[in-house]
């Protein structure tokens, strides 16, 4: 099949700046009454199927300082490993789980998502990818949004065969994407994200 030739250039990125929370999480930024709730602030409904988890991240800059003005979006499959695609014909316009969330970092550079554990999604090689969530990070000083993934410590076997993790040549850097599990009624998966430095997180161009 012949591919089309692009006729337009993508609009260039610019930093989200120090006040991204005004635009994307206005209630968090204390701009009340414009939106009933910040978009993506709640991922779960009582009807959501799947194992409840909390994903917690802390973002650091290259000097080790917490990044307290970032905005993080999460996109994930449901518990069966399917992405909800409401654009498809006859789809449910209000699914119990959309798979998308958005959270600001707080004064300590910490963000968290109350969600469900995603199932394995088929990879390009036909084999399932290890369960993961996709993250996109913007902030002052980030000129173009950073794309990465979060994997789960308790999926060691699947992680060992994952399509994306296996493309990271330095096995030490694979560890930058694997969240540590803290057991509890609702398990917490905790990941440190380093924008720069010895522990720099693997970011993608995809």
């Amino acid at each position: 099949m012949l591919h089309p030739v692009p006729t337009l250039k993508e609009t260039p990125s610019q930093t989200a700046g120090p006040y991204v929370h005004i635009g994307l999480t206005p209630n968090f930024a204390e701009i009340k009454g414009v939106y009933a709730a910040d978009p993506g602030s709640t991922m779960l409904t009582p009807d959501t199927k799947g194992d409840r988890i909390t994903i917690v991240g802390k973002i650091f800059d290259g000097a080790g300082a917490p990044v307290n003005d970032a905005l993080v979006e999460l996109w994930q499959a449901d518990g069966d490993g399917s992405y909800v695609a409401p654009m498809a014909p006859n789809s449910n316009s209000a699914p119990a789980f959309t798979g998308w969330g958005r959270q600001p970092t707080n004064g300590d550079g910490v963000f968290s998502f109350e969600t469900i554990k995603p199932g394995p999604v088929p990879g390009p090689d036909g084999k399932p990818m290890a369960p993961h969530v996709n993250l996109w990070i913007v902030a002052r000083g980030i000129n173009i949004g950073l794309q990465t993934r979060l994997y789960f410590e308790d999926e060691a076997e699947a992680n060992g065969q994952d399509y994306v993790l296996s493309k990271i040549m330095d096995p030490r850097r694979r560890l930058t994407l694997i969240a540590r599990k803290e057991a509890g009624d609702v398990p917490r998966y905790v990941l440190e994200i380093h924008l720069q430095g010895d522990k720099e997180t693997v970011f993608f161009d995809m």
Partner: protein, 248 residues
Amino acid sequence: MSDIILPGADGALYQRDRAWHPPANTPGYKSTTFRAPRNALLSLSGTASELTGPTFGHSAINPLDNDLIRNYSQDGSEAIGQRLIVYGQVLDENARAVPNTLVEFWQANAGGRYRHKKEAYLAPIDPNFGGCGRAITDENGFYSFRTVKPGAYPWPNGVNDWRPAHIHFSVFGHAFAQRLITQMYFEGDPMIWQCPIVGSIADKSAIDQLVARLDRHNTTPMDALAYRFDIVLRGRRSTMFENKLEGN
């Protein structure tokens, strides 16, 4: 109810032209110094995780969401400043309209002051201006909103650096790998060419893509000027889903 876009090259996006975008580390914009990754990005052709993305129904939007002149009115008064209509079309690199996608925008008030607790500029807050809004593109990919023209303002970078008047934009598209944040500037503004954040983009024609054009035909007589700002998202290499997913 749910659907998976098949992974593989046929559904993949065009490679992002990283030379068209600003690089991560641009010393003229000092905040990038400790926030720019230093390792090469890991290149991957997209998987289902990147070729799908969230979508938003028109029911998620309220009528005042695209009216920044009125959506934060505290006492019934309108926001102060030069009244504007900002509109445009969201397209992909194949010049196809991107319908039903969420566009969000935020900006300083007419004096160049943001409503934010960390904002230290001496220009006054406008009690009736919040500074945020959103719209969902129509079937032809068009969005529009009403606002006041944001003021230029000084910012802590160089000892006397100023931002040109600008509006921040966030756009989704239909794949998570299309996600984009950018800023819109105003045609004819000489401040554009002295800004270190604008200057993070190397190619002058790329910068020109961020400059909205005055559109006299779409002004509202005796009310508001109009500026047009089209936004281009990454396009797919294939149209194999053309009959299945709108805006593939």
